[in-house]
């Protein structure tokens, strides 16, 4: 699975996710990536793209939950990401990347590593795999 979350210089956000799914999966199996609110979500406060065990991400509506924690609890982006990865996945393993409408980036994962990269307008740029 691959994904991208962006906020542009007008403060508008967007997110996209794309995948081949699980190796040896049944034909016709749908994962989280195409499901808005689970694998992908974008609104005024943030944009999110998730990856990992699709069944766990679907059940937890993970991408929408990050936005909901920000909207309803007034949490900051990283705080919302940490809460959702820690509290919402049950036994599932997953990761996500996110940006806020105010130009922050965040990510979180509860499995061994996540291929990721992020950059902000003030020059910060990072590419990583492990914790």
């Amino acid at each position: 699975t691959v994904g991208c979350a962006v906020v542009d210089s007008n403060g508008f956000t967007a997110a996209a996710t794309s995948t081949g799914g699980l190796m040896n999966k049944m034909t016709g199996r749908i994962g989280d990536s195409p499901l808005i609110g689970s694998g992908t979500y974008a609104c005024d406060v943030c944009a999110v793209s998730c990856t990992g065990e699709g069944e766990a991400i679907i059940r937890s509506t993970l991408a929408r939950d990050v936005a909901a924690v920000m909207e309803y609890r007034g949490a900051g982006l990283q705080e919302a990401v940490d809460y959702c990865v820690k509290e919402r996945l049950d036994e599932g393993f997953a990761g996500l990347i996110a940006v806020s409408g105010t130009g922050e980036v965040a990510y979180g994962f509860n499995c061994t590593g996540m291929f990721r990269g992020c950059a902000t307008e003030d020059g910060f740029m990072e590419v990583g795999i492990w914790e």
């Binding site: 699975t1 691959v2 994904g3 991208c4 979350a5 962006v6 906020v7 542009d8 403060g11 508008f12 967007a14 996209a16 996710t17 794309s18 995948t19 081949g20 799914g21 699980l22 190796m23 040896n24 999966k25 049944m26 034909t27 016709g28 749908i30 990536s33 195409p34 808005i36 992908t40 974008a42 609104c43 005024d44 793209s49 990856t51 065990e53 766990a56 679907i58 049950d90 990761g95 409408g101 105010t102 130009g103 980036v105 990510y107 994962f109 499995c111 061994t112 590593g113 996540m114 291929f115 990721r116 990269g117 992020c118 950059a119 307008e121 740029m125 590419v127 990583g128 795999i129 492990w130």
Partner: protein, 200 residues
């Protein structure tokens, strides 16, 4: 003026034994795709165009599980899915079960922009792609030798493997992990007994 920002991923759950050269290759691909987004944002591109352009880059590179290099079904074929969402007005588009569309994320964008729906799948999605003149290729374009080998491992372990997925603290490769956990007749999903997953 707001401040732009971008984040990308290539999948979570990485084999802790991933060889160094593969890790370096992953970082090169991530850095290249990230730069595509940064350059577009510096040029004032809207967020929606940037996420589509970056995910297209990631789909086209065979390193990650999407587009070319997608995981294989138990039949050894590729069925891809993608979604895109515009935070402005919360518009969205999604596709599933596409097997010839070169860049599924662009088809998801067309579903959002050019169809009255939010989600098209399988034959309907393939037909819409052709109506919209999107580039289509033979399914073999998406299949890599690495993934044919990984599928063989998955079948031997009789499991459904999440790419590179290794449970926390697990040191074996996922196929061995799945093999050791594999019950004689129980299904294994992502290397874990299917029983731990709540019924869908």
């Amino acid at each position: 003026m707001a401040r732009w920002a971008i984040a990308i991923h290539g999948g979570a759950g990485v084999d802790p034994n991933l060889p160094e050269h593969r890790q370096e290759e992953a970082k090169r691909v991530l850095a290249r795709c990230l730069q595509v987004g940064v350059d577009a944002l510096r040029g004032g591109a809207p967020a929606l165009d940037v996420v589509e352009a970056v995910v297209r880059e990631l789909e086209t590179d065979p390193f990650f599980n999407s587009g070319r290099g997608s995981a294989l079904t138990r039949l050894g074929t590729v069925e891809m899915e993608a979604s895109i969402m515009d935070g402005r007005g919360r518009r969205c588009g999604a596709v599933s079960g596409v097997s010839t569309v070169k860049n599924p994320v662009s088809l998801a964008r067309l579903v959002m922009d050019k169809s009255p729906h939010s989600y098209l799948a399988f034959d309907g999605a393939e037909e819409f792609a052709r109506e919209q003149g999107l580039e289509v290729v033979d399914n073999s374009y998406f299949i890599t030798e690495d993934n044919v080998d990984t599928l063989k491992l998955a079948k031997e372990a009789n499991s459904i493997l999440f790419d590179y997925r290794i449970p926390l603290g697990g040191s074996e490769t996922c196929s061995a992990q799945a093999g050791s956990d594999n019950h004689s007749n129980g299904m294994v999903m992502n290397g874990l007994p299917i029983s731990i997953y709540a019924p869908e």
